[in-house]
Amino acid sequence: MTARPVRSITVPPRLRVLEGRRPRRRPIAPWMVFTLVVVVAFVGLALARTALDRGAFELAELEARIAQAETENTQLRLEIARLENPARIAPLAEELGFVYPTQRRPLLVSGVVVDMRDADPRWIEIDRLAAAP
């Protein structure tokens, strides 16, 4: 007896309908938000940079104005010093008729206390010595 392969009994698969998941659309909101953030950040950075640049130019301009004002200030100080120079004022005063007094007499104003620390009592001795023959 010869062995024969047993014919396999194939059972047709039973078909069933599976409830498939509906393909979901990829969410775009986060991307939009992300993109928006990036764009806003970029624009913000650009604006900030522009503002900073503008500020830098304004600062440079202000510094230049300060330097100019300082220069003018120095020039004015120089002019004041030149105008106050006694070598300029004295001849002008003379032209206007101002003169040094030729005779002067010191006056004692009553009630005004004069510091007499300058008077040295030791001079009494010196005067006596000087008066000696």
């Binding site: 120095t74 010093a81 005779q103 007499m116 300058d118 000696a132 023959p133």
Partner: protein
């Protein structure tokens, strides 16, 4: 057949692909190697080279310090100016350019044209011109003509105190006077500005930059009083006009502090127009010029006698003639080079005199007799104590030391020195010597700068050297003697209304290249108020006309004017005012 050919070709394609692949690998490897080289191995070097192309380093010049008088009025300051320059290769019409610039800057057209045609790459057309002048030139838009800012040193007081303040050159280096003496303090420390520029040379905003700021020079506060300085200077000029003298020098000292309140000379110069000056008036001869003081020296001789106790005010000097022969035969000789014959200024009978009288009438013979009582070394010692023979150490460059020219073998030199010959001094030395008497016998080093102000506003002050030269009592007695000279002696013209003044006249024959001449050096040194002196004034007049040849005629009137102004400026109470 085709298949066989394809089979033969297959290895060829593969090998080509292999070659290309290898080439690509090599290329990428090369690029990678280079990338590593550039980005890793030599990254710092390339970064530095790149930065160096953009970075510009500029030296920031420090502002030179100001010089003030004691009231805060500026005597020297630095302002911004502009210098106009040209790149001759870019100048289209040199003649027109030279004319246009010359008209506006006051330059010489021929000089400017020569500069433009000199073949140089860069020439200055005008340096340190006013800003509005530079703007006028810039407005012309001349091809090849540009300007840049440059600091300019200016002297608002003009001729007043010019010889003391000195000058700085066009590059801001002090070359004379206080400008030179304090150059290192005044000039400051340069800074550095590092910034990035684009290829057109414009500064890139917000680019990294570093600033090492320049440290401005220190400001100097001097002891000079500008109005008093002007009075001294104008008085000197008047004295030249009045006496026909060649030069006049006035030194005003604060007796208690050694501060120089005024130091004036005539003729003088304007530091901003100094090129127009002949240069002869630049130097401050009050510090640098030496002269034989004549009778003003008697203060030291008599002080030495009083201080050593060999004489007092009432000591009688017997037999004072009007002629005294120290070297036998000197008075009978006609030889100019035989010294040793001394005469009083005016003839008088031989008689006894007190020390007071000798000093008051300024008797040469009497003073020599007083000197003969003092040991010789002692006299020289006192001369040195009073500051003769060595510089005072004032903060001014080129001070002359003076000289004590006493040869040990010279028989007449001691007598000469006693009356102000064989001794050379500067006007400042004599003022300081008299200030020692004014200051109760204590010599104070004269000085011009009383304080230095640094960038932080810190003020450093000066402490002058002091030393006692005679006792307090000797100083009192000498002041009394000086007062008698003005009250009843040769110095009456030095009196000041309202104040008791003391001083001494000096008249010395002027020594020239061929010996003594007929000209004189007339001087007066004194102090006031004599009870407690605040101010010392020394006036020296060089070669006045014969009718003004004495100190009493040439110098004493100038002393009176300056002393009065000084007393008023310092608010010194007149004598006789009591509470």
């Amino acid at each position: 057949m085709a298949a066989r050919r394809a089979a033969r070709a297959a290895p060829s394609v593969r090998s080509r692909l292999l070659v290309v692949g290898m080439a690509l690998v090599l290329a990428w490897a090369g690029l990678g190697y280079r990338l590593v080289q550039v980005q890793v191995v030599r990254a710092a070097e390339y970064a530095e080279r790149g930065l160096a192309q953009r970075l510009t380093r500029k030296t920031v010049a420090p502002t030179r310090g100001k010089i003030f008088d004691r009231n805060g009025d500026p005597l020297a300051m630095t302002v911004e100016a502009r210098s106009i320059y040209a790149i001759p290769d870019q100048v289209e019409d040199p003649l027109l350019t030279a004319q246009e610039v010359a008209i506006r800057t006051g330059g010489d057209t021929a000089d400017l044209l020569a500069a433009l045609e000199s073949g140089r790459n860069f020439v200055y057309l005008a340096r340190q011109v006013e800003l509005d002048v530079a703007q006028e030139v810039e407005a012309l838009d001349l091809a090849g003509v540009y300007s840049h800012p440059e600091a300019k040193r200016v002297y608002p007081a003009g001729t007043v105190a010019a010889q003391v303040v000195g000058v700085a050159d066009i590059d801001g280096n002090g070359i004379e006077g206080l400008e030179y003496a304090y150059d290192s303090a005044l000039r400051g420390t340069p800074g550095e500005l590092v910034l990035e520029q684009d290829p057109a040379g414009r500064v890139i905003p917000l680019a990294p930059r570093s600033i090492e700021p320049a440290i401005p020079g220190e400001d100097l506060v001097t002891s000079l009083d500008l109005p008093l300085q002007y009075t001294a200077q104008s008085t000197c000029a008047d004295t030249l006009e009045r006496t026909g003298a060649e030069q006049c020098w006035i030194v005003v000292l604060d007796a208690e502090t050694g501060e120089v309140l005024a130091m004036a000379g005539a003729p003088t110069y304007d530091p901003e127009l100094r090129r127009a000056s002949d240069g002869g008036s630049f130097s401050n001869f009050a510090v640098r010029d030496m002269y034989e003081p004549g009778s003003t020296q008697k203060l030291i001789t008599v002080s030495a006698a009083l201080d050593t106790g060999v004489a007092d005010l009432d000591t009688i000097i017997p037999d004072v003639a009007d002629t005294y022969e120290v070297t036998p035969g000197a008075c009978r000789s006609n030889e100019d080079d035989i010294y040793g014959c001394f005469r009083d200024f005016s003839p008088h009978e031989t008689r006894s005199m007190t020390v007071r009288e000798v000093f008051t009438i300024s008797s040469n013979v009497g003073t020599i007799k007083i000197q003969e009582r003092i040991p010789r070394d002692t006299l020289v010692e006192y001369m040195r104590r009073f500051g003769q023979g060595s510089p005072t150490g004032i903060d001014y460059p080129g001070e002359a030391p003076g000289a004590i020219g006493i040869d040990p073998g010279c028989s007449s030199c001691w007598a000469s020195a006693a009356i102000g010959y064989s001794v050379a001094v500067t006007p400042l030395q004599m003022a300081a010597a008299y200030a020692a008497i004014a200051n109760d016998g204590v010599w104070i080093q004269p000085h011009l700068v009383t304080g230095r102000i640094d960038v932080d506003g810190e003020v450093s002050t000066v402490t002058p050297e002091t030393r006692r030269v005679v006792s307090e009592r000797t100083a009192w007695v000498m002041r009394e003697l000086l007062a008698s000279v003005v009250a009843a002696g040769t110095g009456k013209a030095a009196s000041v209304p309202g104040y008791r003044v003391g001083g001494k006249t000096g008249t010395a024959d002027k020594y020239g290249p061929e010996g003594y001449t007929n000209q004189t050096i007339a001087s007066f040194v004194g102090m006031a108020p004599i009870d407690d002196p605040k101010i010392v004034v020394a006036v020296v007049v060089d070669s006045p006309a014969p009718e003004f040849s004495t100190g009493g005629r040439a110098a004493a009137p100038a002393f009176s004017v300056v002393m009065e102004a000084a007393l008023h400026r310092l608010g010194v109470t007149p004598d006789g005012i009591t509470g």
